[in-house]
């Protein structure tokens, strides 16, 4: 598939994901919160080849929209422009750093289910959130490399999960599908040993198994 990508957020995570997307050969747009000149400078250095745009234009240009803004600024994401598109939630809720947010504090649902509701994004999956941006930057490796790290992709719709899994694979990581979206609870900070652990596919599988979470499909 063509899989045009937009990354909303040009911070620590967004710039790394845009760079990996460009390296994966995907047409890549990127949007940030600052002024266009600052965004241009940042993209030019950190994600050359990605095209700086406004959030709405970036989202409309893409098939897959990766949202990597601070969760406190979720309201700045142009929800209308996401309609019909695959949305990847790369964000985490961690109050000591992000501050307490009413919509997420004490919630029984996973943060991605809340994000899906806030954005009205029908086709939303959770991925990229459980590795740090330095690690995403450092560990992108070709398929088959024994050191390759794994990224879980959690979502309700198998076809949507598969499309994001293809992107994850092309960006240098072994995708591991989880159904449904709420299965992504184990990827959240503080909920298991997965967040921040940089696991290989085999390690992620055995960690999930120990948690009683079964992966959705076995990829070859």
């Amino acid at each position: 598939m063509s899989g045009r990508v937009a990354v909303l957020g040009a911070g620590k995570v967004g710039t790394v994901l845009a760079r990996l997307s460009v390296a994966a050969g995907r047409p890549t747009a990127i949007a940030g919160s600052g002024d266009p000149a600052a965004l241009g400078m940042i993209v030019d250095v950190l994600a050359p080849g990605a095209v700086p745009m406004t959030s709405a234009d970036a989202a409309r240009s893409a098939d897959i929209v990766v949202v990597a803004v601070p969760l406190a600024r979720l309201g700045s994401v142009p929800a209308a422009a996401l309609k019909g598109r695959i949305v990847v939630d790369a964000m985490n809720y961690w109050p000591p750093v992000d501050g307490a947010l009413a919509a997420f504090e004490g919630a029984t649902r996973t943060s991605s289910e809340i994000v899906r509701e806030v954005l009205g994004a029908e086709h939303l999956v959770k991925s990229f959130n459980h590795m740090g941006y330095h690690e995403l930057d450092a560990w992108a490796l070709p398929p088959g490399d024994p050191e390759r790290r794994a990224l879980a992709v959690a979502g309700d719709d198998p076809a949507v999960v598969e499309a994001v899994a293809d992107l994850v694979d092309a960006m240098g990581f072994d995708p591991l599908a989880l159904h449904p979206l709420s299965a992504g609870r184990v990827l959240q900070p503080g909920s298991s040993d997965i967040f921040g652990a940089n696991l290989t596919r085999a390690e992620l599988l055995s960690t999930l198994e120990a948690l009683g979470v079964a992966p959705a499909t076995a990829r070859p």
């Binding site: 250095v45 921040g196 652990a197």
Partner: protein
């Protein structure tokens, strides 16, 4: 090349009174041993002693002669820049011109609710206040209007610092927009780096481009870096001794709720964390200098509630075996 230390006044296993007394004594030693700077970081949490670092810096000023006295960082977004300037101008007078400020967000956010600020306003708070502070260091009388504090109408801001311009750095933790801002404002940039310094090359490049585009003399701007540091006589000895304290300390991060695993610790050291023998730490600081062009490195030297004896031994190795060699190699 300048070398220094920084602390948050970690309170694990020690009382506030003892920690502050230790800090003043360690600063005195650092001054006598020829280190260039001590920086104290502001936090508003029960596990750190330094919600008012400028008070401790004033105490240090009175028992030291040469060492520069900095914050690391001042959480400017939730402070009044006028008051910050007054405090540091006073510290500068008391210390004979040794005060500096690193302004930044800091690792935590407790000060926002504490002082009645909305974290979602972080951008406008920091942007407006850093611009005001950078004017205050130059203008004795100031007229200013904005959203984040009451207007100033030809206000007299005294006392003035002893230094012609009180040095103000902007602390950057990895967010590219922060590097753009530091460059545009022509402020020096302090980079927080804990493992591999290589990814920060992009931030330095962005900083320099932004400074040049805004018409600043890029070569006059300074870049510094800092992160966690522990030095032992031997490589393996240092790693083993420091690990339990560091693992416990990093349990405050979301990825290590049960403490940092040893294999991740060893991976971080391989990637660049400054833990090891004097020679290993020398090589890593020189790596920062070569990759990033820094003219100052400061190490957080009392991480994780280590006993004072461990802290002091590491500090002594830094002052006597690391700093002289780094200065010599940097000058070569």
């Amino acid at each position: 090349m300048e070398l220094g230390i920084y602390s948050f006044g970690d309170l694990r296993g020690i009382s506030t009174r003892e920690r502050l007394a230790d800090l003043v004594a360690q600063a005195r030693y650092a001054d006598e041993a020829g280190l260039d700077v001590i920086a104290l970081g502001e936090h508003h949490r029960a596990d750190f002693a330094l919600s008012a670092p400028e008070m401790v810096l004033a105490a240090i000023a009175s028992v030291t002669d040469r060492i520069r006295l900095s914050t690391g960082v001042t959480v400017l977004s939730t402070a009044d820049p006028v008051r910050v300037y007054q405090q540091f101008a006073t510290l500068d007078q008391l210390s004979g011109g040794r005060a500096e400020i690193i302004a930044g967000r800091g690792a935590f956010t407790e000060s926002f609710p504490l002082f009645g600020h909305d974290l979602r306003e972080y951008e406008v708070l920091f942007d407006e206040k850093i611009r005001l502070l950078l004017r205050l260091v130059k203008e004795e009388r100031i007229t200013w209007q904005g959203r984040t504090r009451p207007p100033l109408d030809d206000a007299l801001i005294v006392p003035r610092a002893l230094q012609p311009t009180l040095p103000v750095w902007i602390g950057v933790g990895g967010t590219p927009q922060s590097a753009v801002r530091a460059g545009r404002l022509g402020a020096s940039m302090f980079l927080a780096i804990f493992t591999d310094p290589a990814p920060a090359r992009g931030l330095v490049e962005i900083y320099r481009r932004a400074a040049a585009a805004a018409g600043h003399d890029v070569d006059s701007l300074r870049t510094a870096s800092g992160g966690h540091m522990f030095i032992g006589r031997t490589s393996q000895g240092a790693r083993d001794a420091f690990f339990p304290y560091y693992s416990e300390y990093l349990s405050l991060l979301p990825q290590f709720p049960g403490g940092m695993p040893r294999e991740v610790y060893d991976q971080w050291i391989r990637a660049g964390l400054l833990v090891g023998s004097p020679q290993e730490v020398i090589d890593k600081i020189m790596g920062h200098r070569e990759l990033l062009g820094i003219s100052r490195y400061v190490g957080q030297f009392d991480v994780g509630g280590m006993p004072a004896g461990m802290v002091n031994e590491s500090l002594e190795l830094f002052a006597t075996e690391v700093a002289p060699v780094v200065r010599k190699e940097a000058a070569a």
